[in-house]
């Protein structure tokens, strides 16, 4: 189920009540959480719970046998078993159709007419997220970064814990499993602050992303006829930058709030990314748990920066291309990743070339704005459904469109730009702060008023919205 649904409201109230019930032992409460998490996942498509079980059981035993193995080769075999099973499931459900389509296209270009049956497989929601979470368990054990969990229940709950299950933050076992060792119950202040985070997250998702930004994006990116004017193309792309941030960061914030209400801590997933100066900075701020996962389990094993520039650039580009593909089985996502890889490579080269240079305040700001603009260029490939669509948008953004037409009405455009300005401005203001620091330094009447306004706006938006964009990944 999704956080912005009435079902979740009822579900969460029941989970909270059970978790705080005095008559359950901690062991029973963990079983309750596990069952609730399966229910949460089954609310999309019950049979897919089996995938969760497969992933859980395979990785549990792979780690157990890895530890018991006497020889390094045996350890490796168990690690590879885990990787093959997890990536195999991900590949079958997420990339099967994509691979088949490309194979057909390749065969066709070679003059072979191949017409396979349609690949009609439904993508299990969140499979990319929990596959990465559970893979990090066996990989950490294999790399001897972590000991395996002592109790199967704790491990199963780590995999399925509903706040992070379908859209992250992608948690590592060392972050969550220890939290299950002893009784966790939110203090009143944790509960209230957790609820406040949920209000903030849902405000971002329901009001900003779905209510005000999404219609502007759809008007241009989903237009059936006509080519947008430069203004419309830019506004729609900037609006998408806000929409995807509010959608995904809204989810993460809500998830962190939900976990906090239950007494658990989840890691930051965003750190005001639109105030990034440079792309390595951007990736330290955007989807932190994914970028660090890719760094730890892909970039570093590929050689990282330890084997000379050529290997470093290859590892960088390979990581970002695969990171792009992780987001979706389409070449547009690969290009999105490739653009980020290129940005990172160029930045790395420039940093080496101008090693001693320190930007002044104005140059710093200009570099920040340049980063934001270049990130927006990549969003075009992320949002457009085809390369044709992306090319049309880029032409329009460059002012080279043939017979462009206006597409966005004035007021929706004004709303979108006000929201984007507020987001970017807030990110710069919060650049070197945490949310908690800012909240602590704000007068309580203002904190209360802002929360009240956000809650009332969620109510006025009737609390409903579409599914989170990242569920499809």
């Amino acid at each position: 189920m999704i956080f912005n649904s009435l079902t979740f409201l009822v579900f969460f109230a029941l989970v909270l009540a059970l978790h705080n019930a005095p008559f359950f032992s901690w062991h029973q409460k963990k079983i309750n959480l596990l069952l609730a998490s399966y229910l949460f996942y089954a609310a999309w498509n019950p049979p897919f719970v089996i995938l969760l079980w497969v992933s859980t059981v395979v990785d549990w035993w792979a780690a157990q046998w890895m530890v018991r193995a006497k020889r390094e080769r045996t350890r490796k075999i168990w690690m590879i078993t885990s990787v093959v099973v997890n990536i195999g499931m991900l590949g079958y459900f997420k990339y099967g159709g994509f691979l088949l389509d490309n194979f057909v296209a390749l065969a066709s270009s070679a003059g072979i007419a191949y017409h396979p049956p349609k690949w009609d497989i439904i993508l299990p929601v969140g499979i990319s997220f929990y596959t990465f979470a559970t893979l990090s368990y066996t990989l950490d054990v294999y790399l001897r970064r972590a000991k395996p969990a002592q109790h199967f229940l704790d491990y199963a709950l780590f995999v399925t814990f509903f706040p992070h299950l379908v859209a992250g933050p992608i948690m590592r076992p060392t972050e969550l499993v220890p939290q299950f060792a002893s009784t966790r119950r939110a203090t009143p202040h944790q509960l209230y602050f957790g609820l406040s985070l949920m209000i903030l997250g849902l405000f971002q998702k329901v009001v900003l992303a779905d209510g005000f930004l999404s219609p502007v994006v759809e008007k241009v990116y989903d237009a059936h006829e006509g080519v947008p004017m430069a203004l419309d193309a830019w506004v729609a792309t900037l609006a998408f930058s806000g929409q995807i941030f509010c959608d995904f960061a809204g989810y993460s914030t809500t998830a962190i709030g939900v976990a906090m209400c239950l007494g658990f801590a989840m890691p930051d997933n965003f750190r005001f990314p639109y105030a990034a100066v440079g792309f390595s900075d951007f990736w330290r701020r955007w989807h932190i748990t994914l970028s660090s996962w890719l760094r730890d389990y892909l970039y570093i094993p590929l050689g990282g920066n330890r084997h000379g520039p050529a290997r470093t650039y290859t590892a960088l580009m390979g990581t970002m291309l695969l990171g792009g593909l992780w987001h979706g089985a389409a070449w547009t996502f690969v290009v999105w990743g490739g653009l980020h890889g290129t940005y990172l490579a160029v930045e790395r080269w420039l940093r080496g070339r101008f090693a001693g240079w320190k930007p002044g305040p104005l140059a710093f700001l200009a570099l920040g704005l340049l980063t934001y603009v270049l990130v927006n260029i990549t969003w075009v490939f992320f949002r457009a459904k085809t390369f044709g669509g992306a090319a049309t948008m880029l032409r329009s953004m460059a002012g080279l469109a043939d017979k462009p037409i206006p597409m966005i009405a004035l007021l929706p455009m004004v709303y979108a730009m006000l929201i984007i300005s507020a987001i970017v401005g807030t990110h710069w203001w919060m650049r070197d702060k945490t949310l908690e620091i800012a909240v602590e330094r704000t007068p309580s009447w203002l904190v209360g008023s802002l929360l009240a306004v956000m809650a009332v706006m969620i109510l006025s938006e009737q609390g409903k919205g579409s599914a989170f964009i990242y569920f499809q990944f």
């Binding site: 189920m1 649904s5 009435l6 079902t7 009822v10 609310a43 999309w44 970064r145 972590a146 395996p148 002592q150 590592r172 076992p173 060392t174 972050e175 969550l176 499993v177 220890p178 939290q179 060792a181 002893s182 203090t187 009143p188 202040h189 209230y192 602050f193 609820l195 406040s196 209000i199 009001v207 779905d210 219609p215 962190i256 906090m260 801590a265 890691p267 930051d268 750190r271 330290r284 970028s291 660090s292 760094r295 730890d296 206006p406 966005i408 004035l410 007021l411 945490t434 908690e436 909240v439 309580s444 209360g448 929360l451 009240a452 809650a455 706006m457 109510l459 006025s460 938006e461 409903k464």
Partner: protein, 399 residues
């Protein structure tokens, strides 16, 4: 040393800490710890009077809910019991249609203009309402043709232009209706409807963002803004029983706005002979499919005001659209032109009947159907026929 995944780490309290090279007030994240086991995260609680803040937020929410409800009922004219007509609500009815003796598909005209209660009073059968506003009846006809479980009478209500248009329209989602059957959606819809039976302001037409967008009075030349959209027009009851919103009846400004939004039904694309022929062929195939398994299909053409009819006729003439459709599919057809009992009904915004007149129109077309097909016989205790006089008083007829 490997980090343990089996010990309990206590999160430190307090916020303002300097973590390594990070600026004061920032905490480390996974991005600051490359190639390491990530420790249990720290989540700080800002020092604030959270209890008082949450009470204040709750009070604001309750006050806002009361204000929104009063505004919805007193100023906007919304009613409790007006349910969202969502994809999931449609799919609920689609499931009920399996094995049902009768179902209705079509666009908003047959949706608004059919009184399901009257239908049931006359025949003892309560048809499943599957019509969707802004949707080609042809799309829905084909969807029902693809459902092997439906073997009843399918009543296809159509507006000629919408029937033959080259796209599905608003209800294109019916082609993948199974995707809306996720358990959480079903439960959410049930909760949603339970609330809407008691609360009036829960109407998707009056969401904050929708209202904010409607403030745009086509300020930007060349852009079709929200003013060009169709605003709230219907009220939906249980099982998608739908009728024209009563505000259209009592608010001349609202009525005028809706008329303006129709833009005379002057479509932007040409209804070429090929387009119409393609529609006829699709309809024939779908009807044959339903009949092959024992079902039946009948066509209904509800009324539209002369201001719209003239343009509809210019684009899809009755002789080329309706007449060919009925003869080509060998179907029973009840056209408003052939239904004297339903002439002169009130079409307040030119395209749909008032609630009372929908009852009269239903009475007229169901009686005609009963005469034409043995599959929908009139009950012995059916109420007496209605006439135009039963609904037009106080409104004035359409023409």
């Amino acid at each position: 040393m490997p980090s343990s995944t089996s010990s309990s780490d206590q999160a430190p309290k307090g916020i303002v800490q300097r973590e390594g090279a990070l600026p004061a007030g920032l905490r480390r994240t996974a991005s600051d710890r490359p190639g390491e086991a990530q420790p249990v995260p720290t989540r700080d609680i800002p020092k604030q009077p959270w209890g008082r803040i949450i009470i204040g937020v709750a009070a604001a929410l309750v006050s806002a809910a009361v204000a929104l409800e009063v505004n919805a009922r007193e100023r906007i004219g919304l009613h409790a019991g007006d349910l969202d007509n969502s994809e999931i609500a449609w799919s609920d009815e689609k499931l009920r249609a399996a094995g049902a003796p009768a179902a209705i598909v079509g666009d908003s005209r047959i949706l608004f203009d059919t009184d399901l209660d009257r239908f049931e009073q006359l025949t003892g059968v309560r048809p499943i309402q599957l019509a969707i506003h802004g949707t080609s009846a042809l799309t829905l006809l084909e969807t029902m043709a693809d459902d092997p479980d439906f073997k009843g009478v399918l009543i296809v209500g159509l507006a000629d232009t919408m029937f033959f248009q080259p796209f599905d329209g608003y209800g294109g989602y019916v082609k993948k209706w199974h995707e809306y059957r996720a358990p959480y959606r079903i439960v959410s819809n049930q909760i949603d409807h339970a609330l809407q039976r008691r609360i009036a302001f829960l109407d998707s037409n009056y969401r904050l963002s929708v209202l904010a967008h409607r403030l745009d009075r086509d300020f930007r030349p060349g852009v079709e803004g929200p003013m060009d959209d169709i605003w709230k027009l219907q009220e939906v009851g249980e099982h998608r029983a739908t009728h024209l919103w009563d505000r259209v009846e009592y608010d001349p400004a609202w009525r005028a706005r809706t008329r303006w939004a129709w833009k005379g039904f002057k479509e932007k694309f040409p209804f070429t002979p090929q387009l119409i022929a393609k529609g006829q062929a699709r309809a024939k195939a779908a009807v044959d499919k339903i009949r092959a398994r024992g079902g039946e299909v009948v066509f209904i053409r509800p009324p539209s005001a002369p201001q719209l009819r003239v343009n509809e006729e210019a684009q899809v003439p009755k002789a080329k659209g309706w007449d060919v459709l009925v003869s080509n599919t060998h179907s029973i057809g009840v056209h408003i032109d052939d239904l004297p009992a339903a002439r002169g009904l009130t079409l307040l915004e030119w395209s749909h009947l008032s609630r009372k007149c929908a009852t009269v129109f239903t009475d007229a077309y169901v009686r005609r159907l009963s005469a034409l097909t043995p599959r929908l016989p009139l009950r012995a205790d059916a109420p007496p026929p209605l006439s135009t006089e039963d609904c037009v008083a106080g409104h004035g007829a359409s023409s």
